[in-house]
Symmetry: C2
Subunit: 326 residues, 2 copies
DNA sequence: CTCCATATGTCAACCGGTTAACACATGGAG
DNA sequence: CTCCATGTGTTAACCGGTTGACATATGGAG
């Protein structure tokens, strides 16, 4: 059975298709009687306008591309979900690309989003050196990463967060403090947390000790890396973990090795997403204002689309959530 | 600056636009020299074909609509993420609608997806009585819910899971066992877990005790409902919670009230999503095969799109993950 | 009488890619 | 000589909705 088209609605309503288009777009003079006739015909035919035709004509898709490492993660999941809601309320729908920290996947997704003629992009993936963004000629907002000077960035204060986390450990007596972070080829915001950690440690006359954890949750390789931290630092008494998922894994391994948290080992995580706060409320963590980041990112993108002025670089405040691990 | 069109590529390559189209679609006879000339021109112009025009002509968008309560939740987040990956590998992109268990939102999203001419739908929202699905004439796959006899359903074995969870509590000595569940107007799979719990309790000569928890995480109202469980059942020694997020909250409240888990109170959750397994590994829970559900749902949808045969009702097995809460 | 507002219709081009049908050219096999 | 394969071009219609320009009709105000 054929889908109803505007001509079918026009015929059933006994008006021209121009009139149907006028009713749909609320344009021109229209009597109440005609409007009702058209709506009745649409309902009877179960007519859905084909936005593809409209998109082609208007050169605008009302689609926004979101490129993020994954949504199966508390921080990114909440951020993407929050942005999707805000964009929907402004009449946009989102196409999501999970880049999994793989530059080739990120390029592929970008390519796909370009062919789908998205009206804008919000990019939170952190692969370095993707030159293709330069060529898109699209309004872009970046999350947590500087892409170039023309693209506004929304982030939380990762440096301050790193300072707060490290200082909290020091102030609570920790001295042999290890920091875990992403590989350095991944230009993620966690690198600022590392810088802050290192600066704060040196400032307190302590030795920075950094371990790299790969971005692939729950793999044996990661567990091995975590075990190596304890093996190589038997006197460890503090851990600043660059994200909450890793923090959970680190604590699990620590407990298996006999450490009591926080008596023997104090732990601070990072992100404080809603899911984490419910599933692991005991974790002391640096809380990013995720919903606020989403709000600012969407507002900035819409402002760019409309060529109105916007603030180029937003750094939103973080705060410490005191659980029980420090 | 204008976006390059197929005519621009043709002109730069010195061929006809029909030849460019033949190159893009790998159709007809083409010399290697011509193919190279066209590709070079595309690269030089940074040309992205406009799939909107193609969609209009071919009457196919390669978009799939996903309607789920939310993605900011371990179970749904993993399920949607997994489906998105599988659909992308088959050439589809997804448009997501978060219905938040609100029938009006679900209808609105469905409407929007229809106007975007999605090629199919995977529906995991559980609002009752949305008649509009009947009119879509689209291939639809449902997750965890019977919509009508024509729509294939993919679910895990919620009844068996409920049995296993309840029996595990009983086998480990619990006798005053409470079950928490969604409101009954929400036709979620959790209702089968409730049935199983009730049947298993009665079968063991015990009284079923069910409490309703609203679907809005971390609200004070929910905390109050949880507190009421302990107030009204001072001799409680077992809890079967219908999802892991609620289980975490229930345990948090229980600990605040002085219960030791599992000594004083044994707890079993449900879902076992990857995120939960990392953030709360101690939780004993019924693990759904989320990635397998995603795989089956996508395969079934694609089969429906291609009018090839498929299995109408897939119930996938669950298993118990023994953490430390039982 | 003229002009304006209201109301609806007609016409046709447009958005960008797809593609069928056919034309023309060349070379080789039967 | 005929037919087929290879290679490329031309033409034009199509997908569905949008919309400007203009036409026609009616009624009322100045």
């Amino acid at each position: 059975m054929m889908k109803a088209k505007i001509d079918d609605v026009a015929k059933l309503a006994g008006v021209s298709k121009t009139t149907v288009s006028r009713v749909m777009n609320k344009r021109g003079y229209l009597s109440d009687k005609t409007v009702k006739k058209v709506h009745d015909a649409m309902n009877e035919l179960n007519y859905h306008p084909n936005v593809v035709a409209r998109q082609l004509f208007k050169q605008e898709t009302k689609l926004v591309g979101l490129i993020f490492p994954t949504v199966n993660n508390p921080f990114f999941g909440q951020l993407v979900s929050s942005m999707e809601k805000k964009l929907f309320s402004k009449g946009f729908k989102v196409l999501i690309g999970d880049s999994m920290n793989d530059p080739d996947k990120e390029k592929l997704y970008l390519q796909e989003l370009m062919t789908h003629q998205v009206d804008g992009l919000i990019v939170g993936a952190h692969n370095h050196g993707i030159e293709e963004y330069k060529n898109t000629n699209l309004p872009i907002v970046a999350i947590d990463r500087i892409m170039n000077k023309d693209i506004p960035v929304v982030s939380s204060d990762n440096y301050l967060g790193g300072q707060l986390a490290t200082q909290l450990l020091i102030d609570n007596g920790a001295r042999i403090i290890v920091h875990t972070n992403d590989p350095q080829n991944i230009k993620s915001p966690a690198q600022k947390r590392r810088s802050a950690y290192e600066d704060t440690m040196i400032h307190n006359g302590l030795d920075p000790i950094v371990y790299t954890l790969e971005f692939d949750s729950n793999s044996d390789k990661k567990i091995d890396s975590i075990k190596r931290i304890f093996k190589e630092n038997p006197n460890i008494d503090g851990l600043f973990v660059s994200n909450d998922m890793d923090a959970a894994q680190v604590m699990d391994v620590a407990k298996d090795l006999g450490y009591r948290i926080p008596e023997d080992l104090k732990v601070v995580g990072y992100d404080g997403a809603d899911i984490t706060r419910i599933l692991l409320p005991s974790l002391t963590t640096v809380v990013q204002p995720i919903d606020k980041m989403a709000d600012v990112a969407v507002s900035t993108l819409v402002a760019r689309m409309q060529d109105v002025s916007y603030s180029s670089n937003k750094i939103l405040p973080v705060k410490i959530w005191r659980g029980k691990t420090v």
